[in-house]
Structure formats: structure tokens, C-alpha cells
Point group: C2
Chain length 328, copies 2
């Protein structure tokens, strides 16, 4: 294996100084009054020998690593997988790459990773946080590391956020079941988590059913139990309350709902879920969706973070993206 070229190899071979090569490579030739002739000579040679600067050395010197940490709860959830996909691509277009971590069920590890990423001089973070991370994120902010939260803000963390219009989405979703599907008794299935997006969705549901004086029928699923228990709870919720419609707060809840409906042959058939899923149109009964605008969320997240990294803005941005209802 031949040794990698360094900038001083280039300088020596060309009989110029390292400084000069560095200036030229970083587009400062004009500014530093390097003659066009020399600039061209260096550039040509660099191209010819295919020299690539050592990014580590560069980062060490500049303090910028050109990488962004992406922490999501669960990359195998299609919502996060899709958003990660978009974020990765957009970040790349800005010259950043993504160091990612899926922190499913392991907050301790998430905390360690935030520290680890910080130690690696990550330029910024994109996080869909779990609840215990406030203190770690606040530490980042204290150290002036840009952080953008998405999907769910944290009440005790004051930073940029990009979230969907959860209240309105859930409200419209419930109205859809009421008005288009003619549902009479609509339940809302959510998780025990107190994540803000879940609160918003509950609020939207409540607003809709309050309007027409329907009972509030809410089930909070605890995911610390096995699937069979979850399905039984869903069955009980649906049949005890004689539901004819259900709004699920997120796609995996809807999938569990469908499993329960199938397993116990439940009658409920007016379903809608937050978050789209490729198969919602294929199942029986079909599941309508309040679809989050993934592309737009990713765009805003990356835009804000890159602006922050470049120090282009100091105000805190809170972006809210509308959802789209997919009727089925």
C-alpha cells in the first residue's frame, strides 16, 4: 500500500511552500495574492496526483468536522427511516455527512453517544429526542453546539424545532372519521409516553370530539409488555367501548390495532393513523392516514442546522409543518 500524499509532499514536489498550497487549495489564492500561474500549476498537479487533504487533520485544525449527528428513536420505523434518508441526502448536498444512531429503548446509550459525538467535534445535532435527554441536550447548547429537534420538542429545552401540525392533523383526522366515514364512537390510541407530539395529537382528537359532544375514549398503550398483551388491551378497548372508529397516534400503534382486529375478528372498520405506511391501503379494513410531510420536515431541519453551523442566524426557529390527509 503506497503512503497517502500529504500537503507537504505536494509542496516539496512543486518547490513551493505548504502555506501556498494550502491557500490555493482553499480558494484563497486571490485573497492572498498568489499569482494565477502558480495557482494553476498547483491545482493541475494536485489533480494529476489525485491528492486529497486529510480530513482529520483539517478538522483538528479548524475545529469543524463537517459531520452531523442524527439521533432517532428507531430507524426501523418507516417514518424515521424515510426522514433519515432525506436528511442524509440534503446534508450531503451541503457537504456534511451523517453519523447516525438509533437509540431504541436505551437512553443510557443515547446519552453516551451524545457525549461521544461531541468528543468527535460533531458540527451539529439533529435529534428526535426521548424524554430523559433534556439535560444532555442542554449541555450541548451550553457548549454552543447547534441542535435541531424534530418530531417532538422538549419542554425544558430551548432550541430550534421542526414539528408537524399535530393538533390540527389529529383534529382533521377525527373529523374525517366523523363526517366522511360517519363514525359514531371514535377511540384514540396512543402511548403512555408524554412526548409532545403525542400530547398534540390527543389534543386534536379531544377538540374534535368535544365539538360534537362525543365521549372521550382514550387508550394509552404501554410498550413494556409483550405483543400479545398489547393486542388484548386493544381488543378490550375496542370492544368494551363498542368503537366503530379509531384514531391511532402513530403507525406502529395502527399496525398493532390491525393485528388485534384480525386476531380477534373485531368489527371496527373506520381507521385512521398518524404517519403513512405503504401497506395501509392494502389491509382490510384500510387505514387512512394523517401523513407528515417528511420531505419538508427534512428540508427545514437541515436548513436550520446548516444556518446555525455557519452562524448565519441567531434567532431560535420553531417551524410547524402541516400534515396531509390520505383518505381511504
Amino acid at each position: 500500500m503506497k503512503k497517502r500524499l500529504s500537503i507537504s509532499d505536494i509542496a516539496n514536489n512543486l518547490g513551493v511552500s505548504v502555506t501556498t498550497v494550502s491557500f490555493i487549495l482553499n480558494g484563497k489564492a486571490k485573497e492572498k495574492r498568489i499569482s494565477d500561474a502558480l495557482a494553476k500549476r498547483v491545482l493541475d498537479y494536485v489533480k494529476k496526483v489525485d491528492y486529497k487533504p486529510n480530513q482529520l487533520a483539517k478538522s483538528l485544525r479548524t475545529g469543524k468536522s463537517k459531520s452531523i449527528g442524527l439521533l432517532v428513536e428507531d430507524i426501523s420505523n418507516p417514518f424515521f427511516a424515510n426522514i433519515a434518508d432525506h436528511i442524509e441526502k440534503l446534508a450531503y448536498d451541503h457537504g456534511y455527512h451523517i453519523i447516525y444512531c438509533s437509540m431504541k429503548n436505551d437512553e443510557q446509550r443515547a446519552k453516551e453517544l451524545i457525549q461521544l459525538f461531541y468528543d468527535r467535534q460533531i458540527d451539529g445535532f439533529i435529534i428526535a429526542p426521548t424524554e430523559g435527554l433534556s439535560v444532555d441536550i442542554n449541555n450541548l447548547l451550553k457548549s454552543s453546539v447547534p441542535v435541531v429537534l424534530f418530531d417532538r420538542p422538549l419542554s425544558d429545552v430551548e432550541t430550534h424545532t421542526v414539528v408537524s401540525e399535530n393538533v390540527e392533523g389529529a383534529y382533521q383526522g377525527t373529523l374525517f372519521l366523523l363526517e366522511q366515514k360517519n363514525a359514531k364512537r371514535i377511540g384514540f390510541v396512543t402511548t403512555v409516553s408524554t412526548q409532545s407530539q403525542m400530547k398534540g395529537r390527543l389534543e386534536g382528537y379531544m377538540k374534535a370530539v368535544d365539538n360534537i359532544g362525543m365521549d372521550l375514549l382514550v387508550k394509552k398503550i404501554n410498550y413494556d409488555q409483550n405483543e400479545d398483551d398489547v393486542l388484548e388491551q386493544l381488543r378490550d378497548f375496542i370492544s368494551d367501548n363498542k368503537l366503530d372508529g379509531v384514531l391511532f397516534a402513530t403507525n406502529y400503534l395502527a399496525i398493532n390495532g390491525l393485528k388485534a382486529i384480525k386476531k380477534f375478528d373485531l368489527a371496527v372498520d373506520k381507521l385512521i393513523s398518524f404517519d403513512e405506511n405503504t401497506t395501509f391501503g392494502l389491509v382490510d379494513p384500510p387505514v387512512s392516514a394523517i401523513s407528515q410531510n417528511i420531505q419538508e420536515i427534512a428540508q427545514e431541519v437541515v436548513r436550520i442546522l446548516v444556518n446555525q453551523i455557519n452562524g448565519k442566524s441567531d434567532k431560535i426557529e420553531k417551524v410547524v409543518i402541516p400534515c396531509t390527509l390520505i383518505a381511504r
Copy 2:
């Protein structure tokens, strides 16, 4: 923002040399004959002030970055998302973190990223390669960078691979339709790609139908067209050939198959797909699955790569993992 501590801050504050601190921090105190008393004093102080070594400087000096590049075709495919999840966790347990890239439809970008990751002194690569990447991967190997391929080997790249037992899986899947489901005319739906795993699956299908003298009925879908066209092709394939059973070479093909069946109300109802999907049990008709053992694949991939990075082994490993049939 207070400046980060460096090792020389520690050394100065303690009145010892940087070298000593470094030795102690790297567990070489004994080997380098540092007294226990001093070692303890340094360790205690480091803990007290919560000093964390600068990883960039460390990497620059040692040439090891403790990071692994993970390149997959499409992170939003549940198969890859799940495997990425496992790989990330396992790598973390070995002290590595994952820099990931989803290279959907953009081979040029994939090539650039391999170069970029290489420039960042990534310690090793885990790649589910697309076909044009052979030359780039061979370049990595030429530079002695460890690479493990999974899901599909490349015929012209000689390196470690972890793949599923595709032939046997498809063979068993086809037999299942024939014997358990009593299918009479089974089609095989695959992609136009010549990726090796697809070839293997085709081979398994052929072996099964050849055995009993059934016609070979194979459709290769080209994904350079819009979804409606894909669905029509599937419809034509299924109805023209009067299929009563279909083996799909991968999960997204199965989902398109289901869409076509639904959209055009096709009669075929004996379905099986390579790769599991949460909703395959919820759709009508249900889809059986030849499920790849994701956890085991991830384990092998990480084990082999870490061994390579540590120079623990020089032989090339080719691991084949059996699949599990999920009957529905």
C-alpha cells in the same frame, strides 16, 4: 463557552508530563512503570474535571478513527433499516460508530462517499453494494481497507461476504406454495437487476418448479417506470399466465404485487415473499415470508469486520446464513 480541556492542561495542573498522562489514560501505566500512586492521582483528577481526549487528534495520530462506513441501497426498506439497527448497536459495543449512507438510485454519489469515507480514515466498510461499485471497492481493498459485503456479493470483488441462503430459501418457499398451498401455476417476480441474491432466488425457484415439471413463469420488473406501469405489468403477468401462486424476490415487489391484486381484483391468493414485513400477516391475501435472519447477518458482518480491523485474521470469510420460512 469554556474551552475544552486538553491533555496538557491535565499534565500542567498536576505537575506531570503529558506523556505520563497519556500512558496512564491508555492503560499503559503498568507497562510503562508508572507508580500506582501517580496513576491513581491522574485518574482521579481526570475523572474530577471530566476530561475527554480529543478523538480527532487521537485518530490523526493513530490512523484509526473507530468508525465504520455503512452503505446500503435504501435505508427505508425495512430489511436494511432493521439490519442497520442491529449493526449500529453491535458496532457500538465494540467501540465503533457508524457513518451511514443510503445510496438509493445514485451510484455516482455512492462512489464519492466511498472516497470521502476513505479520506476520513474510516476503519472499515460494510456495504450492500450496487453493481457499479466493484472498481471502487477493489480500490479500497487495494489500500488494505477492510470491507465486508452483505446481502449480495460482487462477482469481481474478492472479499468477505455474508449472505442468506438464497437458493435454498427460494426453493423451500416455492415448495411451500406447491405442497402446502397446493398451487398449480407459480410465477416468480424479480427485478431486472443482476444482483447475485436475485440470481440465487431465481435459481431456487427454478429448481423447485423444474423438479415437478411446471412451466417457468418469470417476470422481471424494471423500476425505472412509474408505479402505475409496474402494477399493470404485474397484472398482466398474473392474469395472462393464470397464476394461482407468486413468489416475490423481495418485500417491495410483494407490496407492489399486493397493490396490483387489490387494484385489479386479481384472483391469485397463494403468495410468498423474500424478506419479512410487519404487515404481511394483515393483508388479504396474507403473504408468507422467507425471512432472512437479520440478527445473525448483522452479527457475522460486525464480527468479521472487527476481526479484520484488528488484524486478527487473514483468510477471506464467506458466510451463508439460512432463512426461516414464515407460513401464513
